[in-house]
């Protein structure tokens, strides 16, 4: 009963068919699952191998949006010319996921669905207003990434659904971006902060501001209150210090690791200050 089994369907519809009948854990690049399996922390025993499903591969775009197949690897992202130009923070994130051999296997949907608060692609994707396409035999639905995480490792996804694609609106202007990852992976659970922000200025005013931080709360956060405070403002010393206070207020650091709570807030506010002062 408890023995490990893996189904390998030929195509997406076959995969969804199997998933509609039994609860199976999708196995993509395996960079999270195989580590958990090796170290005995994986509860799942029954898997569905999706690594070869062509319907989940490839990056396409229209004038309005990008569509990244669920199996898009970080290596594919970092090599993609138009992504480099249009979604540079996502490309920066991709380059920082592990090293080359990891980037060749680690998929974007796997990074999202592993639901680590430290997933490096997520703050960038949140700033770019990404949505997920979730597909089952019954239906296809689109969930904004900002609504996808319901709590620590809790997601708005049913057991018969796969993430089939990530949809990202095509940025219209050429915003100023800021993407910083602080802290090494090995020490990740104690010291990492991942900060992503994007700003569009018009005659000295901030007309668009988006800020997202990973590793600071049970899920990566978009900081809407701080964004709202800054919108339509011209920056000066007092606006910057108010914004920093607002940000410190809005982030709720993971407080089961108390010793590092202050550190994380400090790193986040320092990064935020650097960013604002660079504008």
């Amino acid at each position: 009963m408890d023995k490990i089994s893996v189904e390998t369907p030929k195509d997406l519809s076959g995969a969804l068919e199997i998933m509609s009948k039994s609860k199976l854990t999708p196995l993509a690049g395996g960079t999270d699952l195989m580590v958990q399996q090796e170290f005995g922390s994986l509860k799942a025993k029954q898997f569905i191998n999706i690594w070869n499903l062509n319907e989940l591969k490839g990056i396409t775009h229209t004038n309005d949006s990008f569509r990244l197949g669920a199996l898009t690897t970080f290596m594919e992202i970092r090599k993609h010319k138009l992504l480099k130009q249009k979604l540079p923070m996502l490309v920066q994130a991709a380059k920082l996921v592990g090293a080359i051999a990891i980037q060749n296997r680690a998929t974007i949907a796997g990074n999202i669905a592993n639901a680590s608060p430290a997933a490096d692609s997520v703050p960038a994707l949140l700033c770019y207003d990404a949505s997920l396409e979730l597909t089952s035999t019954q239906k296809k639905r689109i969930v904004p990434l900002k609504d996808f995480y319901l709590g620590y490792k809790k997601m708005d996804i049913q057991s018969d659904e796969l993430i089939t694609a990530i949809i990202i609106p095509m940025p219209k202007d050429n915003p100023t971006i800021y993407y910083q990852k602080v802290g090494a992976r090995l020490a990740l659970s104690i010291s990492k902060v991942c900060f992503a922000a994007l700003v569009q200025m018009q005659s000295g005013k901030l007309v668009d501001v988006r800020i997202s931080i990973g590793s600071i709360a049970p899920t990566p956060l978009r900081l809407y209150k701080t964004e709202d405070y800054l919108k339509q403002k011209k920056l000066n010393a007092s606006i910057i210090s108010n914004a920093i206070e607002q940000l410190a207020d809005e982030i709720k650091p993971i407080d089961d690791i108390r010793s590092s709570k202050e550190y994380r807030v400090k790193v986040s506010t320092n990064l935020f200050r650097n960013f604002l002062e660079s504008l």
Binding site: T8, N49, G98, A99, I100, A101, N104
Partner: protein, 163 residues
């Protein structure tokens, strides 16, 4: 009680074809080292951090400790044993030999696989910067050399490749 599942997998390893019947999550590294006695591929951390187990799968640099055999049906795998031809070191191995890029040797197979992939990914006549080399090898840890001899070896390998 049901029998535990096994899967039938056929793949190419160093240009020879093999078929296996194994539990689906058997790690590629275990197949290489235990079933095939290809012990040039090393196991350090077992979690994708050290690069000692690096191989090429369909030409792409991969940590064999993280790959389940169920995903290898039809794949073409190159291990360190596939680099030399008839016992003669290839140009990359020769460069490591000349520049002292190996000390204890534990990380060396992985370093050589990463260098192979680095060179395969260069465009014609491209000379990679040191920064580029360091990034490409950043998934390979070495406790002996302090890396500079390794970087020199890789640089030499790139030059030889171009010349």
């Amino acid at each position: 009680m049901s029998k535990s599942q096994t899967v039938n997998i056929t793949c190419t390893i160093n240009e020879a074809q093999y078929s296996f019947e194994l539990p689906p999550l058997t790690r590629l590294i275990d197949v290489l080292r235990e079933d095939l006695q290809l012990t040039g591929t090393k196991e350090g951390c077992s979690e994708g951090e050290c690069g000692a187990c690096t191989v090429l799968i369909n030409g792409e640099l991969t940590n064999s400790c993280l790959v389940p055999i169920v995903q290898m049906d039809g794949a073409s795998i190159t291990t360190i044993e596939g680099l030399s031809q008839k016992g003669i070191l290839n140009k990359i191995q020769q460069s490591f030999w000349e520049r002292g890029g190996a000390q204890c040797g534990f990380c060396t197979p992985g370093m050589l696989m990463s260098t192979t992939s680095l060179i395969n990914n260069l465009s014609t006549d491209e000379i990679p910067s040191e920064e580029y080399i360091r990034e490409w090898l950043s998934g390979n840890l070495c406790r002996c050399t302090g890396y500079s001899k390794i970087i020199e070896s890789v640089s030499l390998a790139c030059e030889v490749n171009n010349g």
